[in-house]
């Protein structure tokens, strides 16, 4: 039998294995390069804000960026919502994170507190001369301003607004509500035709009833945080708002199974015309689909029991990180992106409401009367989680942004717990969570 000329001794083989292991270990221990490094490109991580077409088009816009000489080019990465907190945290801790990203609504404020965010003050100042600054809808930039400056730039808006099914309302002989009392009247009329007038989805992980409830608290001049950014929940305004919710529940205007509904379950109920009125997301009609979607109409902002108007909105944003190959490059890319992102709305990729007036004025956007009404009538009166104490977000808001604490609060309210008890429990939970 012929033997190979390339024989290896046992000792040689062991040496080879050892060398391989050492190389692997060294490779594992080395830094991943991150967003930094002189010749590195600029990493832009964006979330799936709409349909799959969103990230395709977004990638195209990003890769179409032609930097000035000496500035880095941009790369694109879509980041899934699943475990996004962990994705960003581990990437930042290992210095392999992006130079620019979107993400959770309060993410920038958390990371700014931990020193990872590059303030956007210089960028926003530069936008005063090219028209972008003046193009923002009123108030949205203010939501990003902290004591340390702007930690992010508004990107798209989410909001909780009043929707109703116009056909069902007509069938019930009711008129669209304009205040809380007329809302109760319309819900009573809907009940007579076996339709629920207070739509809700309270599922612990897939529902957002707590956003609707906080929206009503803000509507009545209340909210979660005071001027010192401390939770201050047991107030007359909040109790009155929760009594309004309880009245809807006790009078049978809410589906008793709603406490377990995910947003998808609720959409099914809207589609089945079992839900006739409620507070939901701006793109509810598209989410519901089918014949019912054309019947869904955004109502006017309601006047609360205390005579106030208000709603909850979420300014989703884009942030710049300190771990960048070039801060000048990051800012140049941001300017390019904001000047070229219009197609994400005009091509109906499913992204939230625009933050720029020029996009809201496009014929494509103007063709959706519901979206136009939200921008025109709801956005000016909407407030962030920081209400009633302030407008700008801050890091501790992460404790109420879709957390177990606020989800429990929503479930407590929907399950009929008294307004004061539900608020006191929530206050106590938040106080124990927020350490500074």
């Amino acid at each position: 039998m012929e033997t190979s000329r390339f024989t290896t001794s046992r000792r040689g083989f062991l040496g080879l294995v050892g060398t391989g292991a050492a190389v692997a270990a060294l490779a594992a221990c080395s830094t991943g390069g991150g967003g930094g490094g002189a010749s590195a490109s600029l990493k832009f991580w964006n979330m799936p804000w709409g349909t799959p077409a969103f990230n395709t088009l977004d990638s195209k816009i990003t890769l179409g960026y032609k930097p000035e000489s000496g500035l880095p080019a941009a790369t694109y990465q879509a980041i899934q919502w699943a475990n996004f907190n962990q994705t960003f945290s581990s990437a930042l801790a290992s210095k392999t994170g992006p130079a620019i990203s979107s993400g959770g609504g309060t993410q920038a404020f958390q990371f700014a507190k931990q020193g990872f965010i590059a303030p956007a003050d210089g960028l926003i100042e530069s936008w005063k001369s090219n028209g972008i600054y003046d193009d923002f809808l009123p108030g949205v930039l203010d939501a990003m301003k902290t004591d340390a400056g702007y930690v992010a730039v508004p990107y798209n808006l989410d909001m909780r607004v009043n929707w109703y099914n116009k056909e069902l309302l007509e069938k019930a002989g009711a008129t669209p509500p304009t205040d809380w009392q007329s809302y109760l009247d319309a819900a009573a009329a809907l009940k007579k035709i076996d339709v629920y007038g207070f739509a809700a989805n309270g599922n612990a992980s897939g529902g957002n009833a707590f956003q609707m409830i906080v929206g009503l608290m803000i509507n009545n001049g209340g909210g979660i945080f005071d001027e010192e950014h401390k939770p201050n929940l047991v107030t007359a305004a909040n109790i009155e708002a929760l009594e309004f919710v309880r009245e809807n529940i006790s009078k049978g205007y809410m589906d008793p199974a709603a406490i377990s509904y995910t947003a998808t379950n609720a959409n099914s109920q809207w589609k089945a015309e079992k839900f006739g009125m409620g507070f939901d997301v701006p793109n509810l009609a598209a989410n519901v689909g089918g014949a019912s979607s054309s019947q869904l109409v955004v109502g006017d902002p309601l006047t609360s029991a205390s005579g106030k108007k208000g709603a909850l909105y979420f300014p989703n944003n884009i942030m710049m990180y300190k771990n960048t190959p070039s801060q000048k490059g990051s800012e140049a890319f941001m300017t390019y992106y904001y000047q070229n992102m219009k197609a994400l709305w005009t091509q109906n990729t499913g992204i939230g409401l625009p933050v720029l007036k020029s996009i809201a004025a496009t014929p494509e956007f103007q063709s959706d009367p519901n979206a136009v009404k939200i921008v025109k009538m709801w956005q000016p009166i909407a407030k962030t989680w920081a209400a009633p104490g302030g407008t700008a977000l801050f890091s501790n808001i992460s404790y109420v942004d879709s957390t177990p604490a606020i989800s429990d609060f929503g479930q407590n309210v929907l399950s009929g717990k008294s307004a004061k008890d539900a608020l006191t429990t929530f206050q106590s939970t938040l106080t124990s969570l927020i350490k500074d």
Binding site: N85, S90, A257, S260, Y261, A405, D408
Partner: protein, 324 residues
């Protein structure tokens, strides 16, 4: 023949399955064997295996040590934070919600393990009989285990979530009124446990089928000659002979149930009002939504400790079965 004498006959028959009187095999004395254990060849083999072993050790030990560090600190996902000793463990154990979630986890695990075992065993016994298209049935029965949990959880949600879903409609037609399968805390617990049994029984069925296939049919014939009834054969022959596999499957299913995140998260999200929150879900929510890394990891460690204790107890049962 009395039941006791049948039992003795069965024990004799079971002993007779292996070679009788098996003792220490002839060979060198233990001291000589120990001297021979570390030959140059042995060292070479150890050296070959060492890189993989070291890598495995690092992959397992590093996360464990890192997790322990986090459990002993008051940190976040980004920072380790100050050292707080066992405070996180104390805080977790002092929370009333921890104990309510523990009790649900126990119920979920007990129902999941024994429910799926009973169904799996019954089906594996049924599939041993000559039923037409038995192979097809076997494949169909495996579907709940094969189908991704996200799909089956969505299907179950569709079955029960709204009053217009099929099961609530049937319940209403049967005169039970508007049954809130996921909105009522007790019913939601029942649904989650049933769902767990449903997705787990195929695994048990496979385990039990393989155990039953290894049982020598001569033992049954011997017992039948001795006058054993079907129940006596099942209790005194089948169950003891598949005991080893049963204990192994109980250990595995206990681990699967205690660590089961997607079943609950996708079906109820832990609600309503925490009724279906298990410990693994609580650990996830504590770390990734409340940003309390220390307490969340402490919960995970407590779960691991309990799992190790359960596994050791069941493993001792396996050894006991082997000795018998």
């Amino acid at each position: 023949m009395t039941s006791t004498s049948i039992a003795e006959s069965v024990k004799r028959a079971r002993r007779g399955v292996g070679p009788a009187g098996a003792g220490r095999k002839p060979g060198p004395a233990p001291a000589a064997r120990a001297r021979k254990r570390f030959t140059p060849r042995t060292w070479t083999l150890i050296a070959f295996a060492a890189p993989s072993l070291i890598l495995l050790l690092l992959l397992n030990v590093y996360p464990l040590v890192y997790a322990l560090i986090q459990a002993l600190h008051d940190g976040t996902l980004l920072e380790t934070g100050p050292f707080v000793g066992l405070k996180n463990f104390g805080d977790v154990l002092a929370q009333p919600s921890f104990w309510s979630e523990t009790s649900f986890t126990v119920v979920f695990t007990v129902v999941g393990v024994f429910g799926s075992w009973l169904v799996g065993l019954a089906l594996s016994l049924l599939l041993r009989t000559h039923i037409p298209a038995g192979g097809l049935f076997k494949v169909l029965l495996l579907l709940p285990w094969i189908v991704p949990t996200v799909v089956s959880a969505t299907s179950w949600n569709w079955l029960v979530a709204t009053p217009q879903s099929p099961l609530p409609v049937i319940a209403e037609h049967l005169g039970f009124g508007n049954v809130l399968f996921l909105a009522d805390p007790m019913l939601a617990q029942v649904v989650v446990c049933l769902f767990k049994v449903w997705i787990s029984f195929p695994f048990m069925m496979m385990m039990m089928s393989s155990a039953l296939a290894s049982v020598d049919t001569n033992v049954y014939e011997a017992a039948k000659v001795d006058g054993a009834t079907g129940w006596q054969s099942f209790r005194l022959i089948t169950l003891p002979l598949i005991a080893r596999t049963t204990f192994v499957s109980w250990i595995l299913m206990t681990i699967f149930c205690v660590n089961d995140f997607p079943t609950i998260f996708l079906l109820t999200g832990g609600g309503p009002a925490h009724a279906t929150t298990s410990l693994v879900l609580l650990a996830y929510l504590t770390v990734f939504q409340n940003f309390q890394t220390g307490p969340g990891v402490a919960i995970a460690f407590l779960m691991t400790f309990v799992l190790v204790v359960i596994s050791v107890v069941l493993y001792r049962q396996i050894r006991k079965v082997n000795v018998e």
